[in-house]
């Protein structure tokens, strides 16, 4: 396995030989910030084109195929269009809150991206409460959505924001307190790097027996709801609400909401890959020595993005498969089914861990 802390350490030493330590810290902050912003933008571009192509695949059509080979540059063209568009703003909005809301929505996923382990030694902020930190930050993002809906002074925006707030706050419970905690019980740590390392003998999805599988299914359902994707997309619901909470935003501010939605989907998938599917660890099959040795030569980040990509494909598949749910159906699903099941599942998992039935 490649240890990326050697590479980052070498960069740190090279910088230290050039300038005093205060400047080194500042330069490293800026470098990491630029790297993450670039990753953010690239993820947005790639995921949008992927979504449109996959939509085409599921509906027996081609999808975007004119700009560049196979329509590869379609989203680049779209981005340029969004950057050049006029920022239309209405007079009757609360100017300060209207302008601050997109930043809430975009800062939350950016901060979560910092704690995700992309490879051995490739974590920007290796924090001992990793998973808890993720849950704490993601609870701030919803405030941006509520603010955007209210400050637009538009009834459709307000309805969209109300629905979104109700869905996100409810589903956060099942996701954080129950399905993720079940794996924390197995791994014995909240640190995401420790959780990855604890899966060297096998993914938790398989080693944790039935409770881990239940936790994974609940996680995928709640993750889809957290990102406001179909079948939980009633917050936007183009056909009934216009665009929901971001109906009044245009140009780059709209792009912020749009981008953060796709990056949130990436985060949900990345967390699923990290916690259930072994993160950046290569696939190992017990007994196949030669196969395992070859797999070790593939670097960690490639494994990480492959596993994340598989989950993203699953989420996109949902989008073109399920019909939209009503708000009361969504809340019933969470409070009457998912939450009790996941709490019971947590107790079951504690029992499994206590008896040492993990292999």
């Amino acid at each position: 396995m490649y240890d990326f802390s050697k590479m980052t350490g070498a960069i740190h030493e090279w910088l230290s030989s050039l300038m005093p330590s205060v400047l080194v810290t500042t330069v490293e902050w800026i470098l990491i910030g630029v790297v993450f912003l670039a990753l953010f933008a690239i993820l947005g571009l790639v995921l949008v084109i992927l979504e449109r192509r996959i939509a085409g695949f599921f509906q027996f059509r081609l999808g975007p195929n004119r700009v560049g080979p196979q329509g590869m540059f379609q989203t680049v063209a779209d981005t340029v269009k969004l950057l050049l568009k006029e920022l239309v703003s209405t007079d009757k909005v609360d100017k300060f809150l209207y302008n601050v809301a997109p930043f809430f929505v975009i800062i939350a996923p950016l901060m979560i991206m910092a704690v995700i382990p992309y490879g051995l030694g490739l974590t920007a902020y290796d924090i001992n409460i990793g998973l808890f930190f993720v849950m704490a930050i993601s609870s701030i993002g919803v405030i941006g959505i509520l603010l955007a809906g209210w400050s637009s002074n538009n009834k459709y925006s307000l309805i969209g924001a109300m629905r979104s707030g109700a869905v996100i706050i409810s589903y956060e419970l099942s996701m954080g307190l129950s399905s993720l905690l079940a794996i924390v019980l197995l791994a014995g740590s909240l640190n995401l790097n420790d959780i990855v390392m604890s899966q060297e003998a096998g993914w938790w999805l398989f080693r944790g027996h039935i409770p881990a599988v239940i936790a994974f299914i609940i996680y995928i359902i709640t993750g889809t709801a957290e990102t406001n994707r179909v079948p939980f997309d009633l917050t936007e619901a183009e056909s009934e609400l216009g665009a929901g909470f971001h109906a009044e935003y245009s140009g780059i501010k709209f792009a912020f909401f749009f981008l953060s939605e796709f990056v949130n989907m990436f985060i949900i998938a990345a967390l699923a890959a990290t916690i259930f599917l072994g993160g950046w660890l290569p696939i190992h099959i017990p007994g196949w020595e030669g196969f395992n040795n070859i797999m070790d030569y593939i670097p960690g980040p490639i494994w990480f993005f492959l596993k994340t990509g598989a989950i993203i494909f699953l989420l996109m598949w949902f989008r073109w498969t399920f019909p939209r749910l009503r708000i009361d159906q969504i809340l019933t699903l969470e409070w009457k089914y998912l939450l009790p099941i996941s709490l019971l599942n947590l107790v079951l998992m504690a029992f499994v861990v206590m008896m040492g039935w993990v292999f």
Binding site: V93, A136, S139, I143, L147, W150
Partner: protein, 168 residues
């Protein structure tokens, strides 16, 4: 050095947004200023490396309580409504009280001999969990249980209040 700069940035943020939160006449803006104050307080916990406390600050205050206030304000306030100013005697009395109160607090803070602690507070979450369930010396199981009963009581009360009342 860097930590000091960060501390002053956070401290100034807290002071400025606390003042704005109580002086703003628009409720939603006041809520947002309160949110910035609470996030900056969480930042101070992260600065002293007490990450768990910082996470709790964010998830309970920023994510929970402020989201609740935002919900309430969203449903009751119009975008251009302002709170009426209170009468002058109230403003003067409240101002006097806050000046006296801040003098007392600052006097105590400056005169009290604070000792640097050498005790390890235990950063990891498992230490906190074990202390919460520890019924031996220095354990916190009694306050933990008292708080749980309080929470249970308030949950039941909330259900009773929110329950639909049927006629006849």
């Amino acid at each position: 050095m860097g930590a000091q700069i960060m501390f002053y940035i956070l401290a100034i943020t807290i002071v400025v947004f606390s003042l704005l939160a109580v002086t703003s006449r628009k409720v939603m803006r006041a809520t947002m200023y309160l949110l910035f104050t609470l996030i900056a307080t969480g930042g101070i916990y992260f600065l002293i490396d007490y990450n768990f406390m910082g996470g709790v600050q964010l998830i309970v205050y920023a994510g929970g309580i402020v989201a609740l206030i935002v919900f309430a304000v969203m449903l009751t306030e119009k975008i251009d409504s302002k709170i009426a100013l209170p009468d002058k005697t109230r403003i003067i009395l409240a101002g006097l009280l806050s000046v006296v109160g801040s003098f007392v607090t600052i006097y105590i803070l400056l005169s009290h001999p604070f000792e640097e602690t050498t005790k390890d507070i235990g950063q990891s979450v498992s230490v906190i969990g074990e202390n919460l369930l520890n019924y031996g010396d220095g354990g916190y199981v009694l306050p933990f249980e008292v708080v749980s009963i309080l929470l249970l009581a308030s949950l039941i009360a909330a259900i009773v209040v929110a329950k639909r009342k049927f006629d006849n």
